[in-house]
Symmetry: none
DNA sequence: GATGAATGAGGATTCATTCAT
DNA sequence: TATGAATGAATCCTCATTCAT
């Protein structure tokens, strides 16, 4: 009946704790989440948590890294191997990817970084290098390839890949603040892509 | 250590405290700012601060309300009284206004709301009603007036005034996280307006 | 009936806390004394204690400094102003002083320093400079003055004032460990002084 | 990080652990030494350590007993079998023995007892019975035998064998606190013996 | 009104000890 | 036996809030 209050599962613990922490942070934010709460969610004692993460801050960093890993790289991979035209790629995989962000863990991470980032410069640096700069690079790559192929024409957008992300950013923030005030974020993002495509198509 | 920056008449006290709190929150965020720090900055004792604001949370709300008030109303006013063409208005006053946001107190408030908002639904409601919805309304008004005047044509953008704000939002977040990674937010915003104008011009 | 649970007594607090801490440390040692226990003894809240002493360690240092201050200086003063012969001085005031040490707060401090000193090098340095070296200097002064006056003769003891302190040290340790095993520390110290006097008398 | 320093046969385990504990306690003191640290030094798991010692306190007691055993008995043995004159014995083997103490494990034990003893009355009792009283007895024996033999004369020192130990005690404490402030402990001890011999020689 | 000394609940972290494997 | 993952009581310290003066 009663679960053993003692289980050896070294392999999975860090991941389990990290996931529990993600959930807790997502709900309450970093500062308002008690370490004990994370431990409880992970079905683990406070002490064990500290065995894997030296401090609450370390745990936070692990959470960020954990979510971030591989996401963008996957996109990069697709970009390089796709056989779609640039426009089709933007309307297809790129659009899909961007529209998924506001509902994904990444959105939570963004919110956490906005809250706690200023006190964790190294984490921001990490995030910038591993997510932001890669993301911007991928977008740039798509655009410049389109130009090379004669699909697109050079324009001011070439150096402002941020324009592709702007509606995503707004959607992320909107959802986290005004979940109840309907906003069709998919449409928002698609429309922005439309604007951009219109602008850069040869 | 730091000299009190505010020392005026009694009647200004709440305002002074609110301003000191704004500065402190801007620097350290809500959770990391101690009430004592705010009192010190305001040149006031902790006890007096509590005379005006029942709790730290109340103080926070006062800060948000204080910064927000009047901003958008001013814009609304201008919109109704301007004699510029819609396009000229967007390229002129609207553009100026939007570009100022990322460096303004509003940007700080946005960051604070992203961090603390989820724990203060009433504050979000307040902010939505007094800033966001008004802001969106103004933009809609400009666009629809342009259509009425035959300057613009109806389009999907009519119902997505958020598109005007998206680059602003991204700029706000970018600056707060990656101040050191240069981004020409003015150009970003102007380019977005350009895209939008191109799209909606008749 | 009930005491006010709130009293403003800024002036006396540090001293009161320091004394309570001395008692607690004397009884349980530094490591085993809880900060809350000190606060309770001082009739004060934990928080207030931390208002005056940044950390438990700071409190410890304050306790040591507090006890140490002026003790030795008083002796130095007496040495310089006495009109007694050197021998009489040693048999009189010096003997009295040394015999008081094992039952005095200094004994407690010594015990604490032996326990915690290795982790507080700065404190040891402070103690050495303000107590030990001064103490040794006073003894040396007495001896060398005796020689100058023709009362004593030069000997190996001149450079080993520690010999005057040795029985005191043993008494301090003995009392703290074997309080129940009788040892006439007064006699021990007096006998040692006798040995030394016999040795150095001209 | 640090290699286990002990890795021998099962039957030596308790001894190995005890030695590792001694080293650790010597370095950091009892309270600041973690059981895990001891286990690591002994090249043993925490669990195994607890198989041999029920608690950290038990381990501590074992350490004390371990070091203490046989030391004094050896001296007693020598006293009874020596063919040296009493004075020669004091200047020779006894002097050597006493001068070794400040640099020996016994010094460490003394320091530990001063720190932790008050919380372990049984340990103090044990130490007193097995070391202190035996030590004092040996000294007394030497002196009284000298008197029997006509080498020494009866004196107050007969009942204060502690006088032989006083400079040793001071040396032990001095070294543990002021290792950096030079003190010729050998000379200190020899001089004290000289004083005593002068005093008691017939 | 003002002040800032005083309070104490709350939360992060440590570490002796246990126990499933 | 032997291991070291897991536990949780114990403690230091912080900081919003109160209240005597």
């Amino acid at each position: 009946m009663s679960k053993p209050r003692y289980q050896r599962r070294k392999q999975d613990r860090p991941q389990e704790i990290t996931e529990a922490a993600f959930d807790a942070f997502a709900e309450k934010g970093y500062a308002s989440t008690r370490v004990e709460e994370v431990a409880k969610r992970a079905g683990v004692s406070k002490g064990l948590l500290y065995l894997y993460f030296k401090t609450k801050e370390e745990l936070f960093k692990a959470v960020v890294r954990n979510v971030v890993v591989r996401r963008v790289d996957a996109l990069t991979e697709i970009v390089e191997t796709t056989e779609l035209s640039s426009e089709a790629f933007i309307r297809g995989p790129a659009s899909t990817f961007l529209k998924e962000v506001p509902g994904s863990p990444v959105a939570v991470i963004i919110r956490l970084l906005i809250s706690e980032g200023p006190r964790h410069p190294d984490l921001l640096e990490y995030y910038y290098n591993n997510v932001v700069s890669k993301g911007l690079a991928v977008i740039k790559r798509i655009v410049s390839r389109g130009i090379e192929r004669g699909e697109f024409r050079p324009s001011v957008v070439d150096d402002l890949p941020h324009l592709f992300l702007a509606p995503v950013m707004l959607s992320v923030v909107w959802r986290s603040l005004f979940a109840k005030k309907a906003l069709d974020t998919d449409k928002l993002i698609d429309t922005q892509l439309e604007l951009l495509l219109t602008h850069i198509k040869a």
